[in-house]
Symmetry: C2
Subunit: 256 residues, 2 copies
DNA sequence: CGATGACTTGACTGCTGTCAACGTGCGTGG
DNA sequence: CCACGCACGTTGACAGCAGTCAAGTCATCG
C-alpha cells in the first residue's frame, strides 16, 4: 500500500498525475480533440484519475446522482438499464477514449448503470467544472457537442440495426463495428479479443444468446471469421460488411 | 404573393417576427428553458422563421451540409436514414417544441433526412450563431446540453424497445409515448390524431405494417383503445402502460 | 366516377426464441 | 497435481410470433 503505482486509495498521487491528457494515447479521440495545448492543461487540472475498477464492478448504478462524466482510459464497460422485473437491456459497450454518462446531464441522474467488463480505469470529469471550463475554451465546448452529437447519430444507427435487421445482419454489423472501433484505437481491426460474453452480445443486439452462439459457428464455417472463446479473427471483412449492410430490402418502400 | 402572412418568400416579414420566443407557447419545452428573459431576446435575434413546409416536403435530406438546428414550431416531421438499397428506417417522429438536427453537429453533415408529416413550420437556428451565443448565455448552453442528453437517453429507451420487446409491447409503448408527449404539449393524452401512417409506425418500431394494423385491431377489441384511421383514443391507459413495460422477463438474467 | 394510396384481413411460412442437455475451460481446494 | 464445481458456451428439438404474399375494402382527390 506504500507503492503509489498499485491500487492506492489516493487518487491524486504524483505518479498518476504524470499521465496527463498530453501524454495520453487517447487524446486524439477523447475530449481534448480540437483543444489547444495550453488549454489541455486546464482540462487536466479538473480531471481526476480514479483507481481501476475490477471486472464486474460498477462505475455507477441506475438512479445514482450525476456529478461527473467519465472517460474510459483503458479496459471496457457496458451500460445497461434494468426494468422493474429485473431484466437488463445493454445500451452500449464502451472502449478506451469514450465518454460515458452523457445521458445523465438532462435530469442529473444516471438513467443507466455502468459496469466494468474487465479491469478498467477511467478519468472522472466533474460536470460543474467542465461546464465552467467549456465556456472559456471554445474548442472544448465544440468537442463536447460533437461527442454528444456523434452519440445521438450512433444510437440512430443502432435503432436501425435493432429494428430492421435479421439476426445474421445484426451480428455481422456488431463485428464490423467492433472491428472499426479497434482500428480507430490503433489495434488490429482483423484480430481482437472481445470482452463481453455471448449473453451480453445477444442482449445488446436483441437476440438470444443461443442465436449468437449459432451464428458465430456459422460465420466460422463460412470462413468469415475465426472464433475461439473471446478471441475473434475477421477473415472476410468485405463479406461481413455486405452482410451487415444488406437486409432492409424486403421492408416497406415508404417513399411517397 | 403580396400578403406577408401567406407563403411569402421573405422569411423575416414583420408579421412573423412578432411570434417571438417570448410569445411562443413552446418556450416551456423548447430551447429558451432556463434562459433569462433578457437573453431570450438575443436568442430571438438569431432565429429565423421559415415558411411552412407542406406535407411530404423535406426540411433537409441525408447528406445535406449542416448549418442550422431546427425547432419544430407546429406540425410534425419524421427523420429517417436510407440504405443504399433504398429502404428507409425512421429514427424518430418530432412534435412541436422539439429540436432536430442535433445528430449533424459531429460531422457537419445531416446523417438523416427530415420530412414533414403534415403542414409544418419550423424555426431555423444557425449553429454558428447559437454556438457563439451559448458561450455568453450559460442557461442556453446548459439547456442545449440538456436537450442533447435527453435525446441520448430517449434513444437508449428506444433501443430497449426495439431490442427486447414483442410487437404488442412495442406498439403499446409507442402509444403511451405519444400520449405523454401530447400531454406535455397541453393536449389531451387520451385522444389525439397521429400524423404518421401505419407503415411509418411499423417501420419505426421494426414491425410490418400489417402487424401494426392487426394490433390496432386487437387493442380495440380488447377495449384498450379506440381507433379510426388517424384518430386514437386511449381507453385503458394503465393496461397499455403495463403491456408496454411488461416483457423482458423471459430474457437472460445476466447478473453476475 | 374512376384511380390511387392507405388500410384491413387471411393464409402460410420461417426465423428465432425457448427449453434442455451436454461440452469446455478455469479457479478453488483438497 | 488432480478432482470438483461453476460459469460460460455449444448444440439439438420444437414451437410460436411475426413477416410475407395476396386479395379485398375503404377513403380521398382529381
Amino acid at each position: 500500500m506504500k507503492m503509489p503505482e498499485s491500487s492506492s486509495e489516493k487518487v491524486v498521487s504524483f505518479s498518476k498525475v504524470k499521465v496527463a491528457c498530453q501524454e495520453c494515447s487517447l487524446k486524439e479521440i477523447c475530449l481534448p480533440v480540437g483543444v489547444h495545448v495550453s488549454d489541455i492543461e486546464k482540462l487536466d487540472r479538473i480531471i481526476k484519475r480514479k483507481k481501476p475498477l475490477a471486472r464486474a464492478e460498477h462505475l455507477y448504478r441506475a438512479g445514482d446522482k450525476f456529478h461527473a462524466l467519465f472517460a474510459v482510459r483503458s479496459g471496457s464497460l457496458k451500460t445497461y438499464v434494468t426494468t422493474e422485473e429485473g431484466a437488463e437491456q445493454i445500451t452500449g459497450f464502451h472502449l478506451a477514449g469514450e465518454l460515458i454518462g452523457l445521458d445523465a446531464i438532462a435530469d442529473s441522474v444516471h438513467p443507466v448503470a455502468a459496469k466494468a467488463l474487465e479491469t478498467t480505469s477511467v478519468c472522472e470529469i466533474p460536470y460543474e467544472s467542465l461546464d465552467a471550463l467549456s465556456c472559456k475554451v471554445p474548442g472544448l465546448r465544440q468537442q463536447l457537442l460533437r461527442i454528444m452529437s456523434r452519440e445521438i447519430r450512433d444510437d440512430e444507427q443502432n435503432m436501425l440495426m435493432l429494428g430492421q435487421k435479421t439476426a445474421e445482419e445484426k451480428l455481422a454489423g456488431f463485428l464490423i463495428s467492433m472491428s472499426s472501433r479497434y482500428r480507430q484505437r490503433g489495434f488490429s481491426p482483423y484480430e481482437f479479443n472481445i470482452t463481453m460474453s455471448r449473453g451480453d452480445i445477444g442482449n445488446f443486439l436483441g437476440l438470444a444468446l443461443e442465436t449468437v452462439s449459432r451464428l458465430f459457428g456459422r460465420f466460422q464455417t463460412d470462413g468469415l471469421i475465426s472464433v475461439e472463446r473471446k478471441h475473434i479473427q475477421i477473415l472476410g471483412h468485405n463479406k461481413l460488411s455486405m452482410l451487415a449492410e444488406a437486409g432492409c430490402v424486403h421492408k416497406n418502400a415508404l417513399e411517397k
